[in-house]
Amino acid sequence: MLTDSKPATWKAALLFVATGAGLYFYFENEKEKLRLKKIAEQSTKSIGKPSIGGPFNLVDADGKPFTDQDLRGKWTLMYFGFTHCPDICPEELDKMGAAVDLIEQKHGLGAVLPVFISVDPARDSVPQVKQYIQDFHPRMIGLTGDYESVKRACKSYRVYFSSPPNVKPGEDYLVDHSIFFYLMDPLGQFVDAFGKATSAHEVSVKTMDAMKRWEAAGGNKAAGV
């Protein structure tokens, strides 16, 4: 009889609604987890990306040892060049500095570190590098080292290294080098490369996109840096 089954109907209805709601929230949760996982994979995916980056053992502009570990936990834009460079290095370093300024406006000072690494160990001594980077962004880090250390760093970053090993004092030469600067994430992994055709604005947009994806995937905490 209908009147006898009313409470049963209510219970059934409630159970139905509760199950429906439960299933809905469960699926939404799973979808969100999947979405985050996809983001995390995208921002750190290693398939199809060049294996740029790796350990290096250099010296900063104050003569103190500086390794790749010192950059862990930080976003960096790295440029390989030399101080006796006619125009390309200064232009790219200026562009890098301008991009860093744009990013710092939104994310605060030190959000991205500009790094200059010399590919000319024979002439780019520590004082030379220190003086050189003074012309550029205030937070720019300048790195150099001896011939072997620089060669190893270039190898890690797949940078063409053509500095002659034995240079006589007063000898002048230009160093062949690729003119990209690399965006590296807080784990020291390669994210993107920017060339002559990329404007400072584009660099800042792409970098901030990468930073946003990184944060969405859990940020430094999730990455363990």
Partner: protein, 129 residues
């Protein structure tokens, strides 16, 4: 990929062989028999061994651009081949401000650029006074 050119061994040798006591880059200029006689040999004193700073670079680029403007005005297509008496003042300042290595680098690049322009029939606008 754009790359700065490595200086050829011959010009390097000529720079080194001409070493005087204080002749150091970037302000030492030595004219060797191999080079076109477009510049009077003028070496400035007090040669710094450090790379040029921002102001010095800007001064070099300005001198370079003035020299190239002069070449365009005189319809010269290869830097260095402008002939006697043409753009003499400009090239002197250019060499003094930039040094031989940078000059060769810029000139080579300009030559390529002008050749490409000629190929596509592009004529750069005549620089105003």
């Amino acid at each position: 990929m754009y790359s700065a050119r490595l200086v050829s061994k011959t010009s390097l040798g000529s720079i080194f062989n001409q070493s005087r006591g204080n002749a150091m880059w970037p302000f030492s200029s030595s004219s060797s028999p191999n080079e076109p006689s477009t510049s009077a040999s003028s070496s400035t004193s007090a040669t710094p061994t450090t790379a040029p700073n921002r102001e010095q670079r800007a001064a070099c680029w300005k001198a370079r651009d003035e020299y190239f403007d002069c070449l365009i005005k005189n319809r010269v297509t290869v830097p260095g081949e402008e002939g006697p008496g043409v753009c003499k003042g400009e090239v002197k300042v250019y060499e003094q401000k930039c040094g031989k290595t940078w000059m060769e680098h810029f000139n080579k690049r300009k030559e390529t650029e002008l050749k490409q322009q000629a190929l596509i029939g592009y004529r750069p606008p005549t620089p105003g006074r």
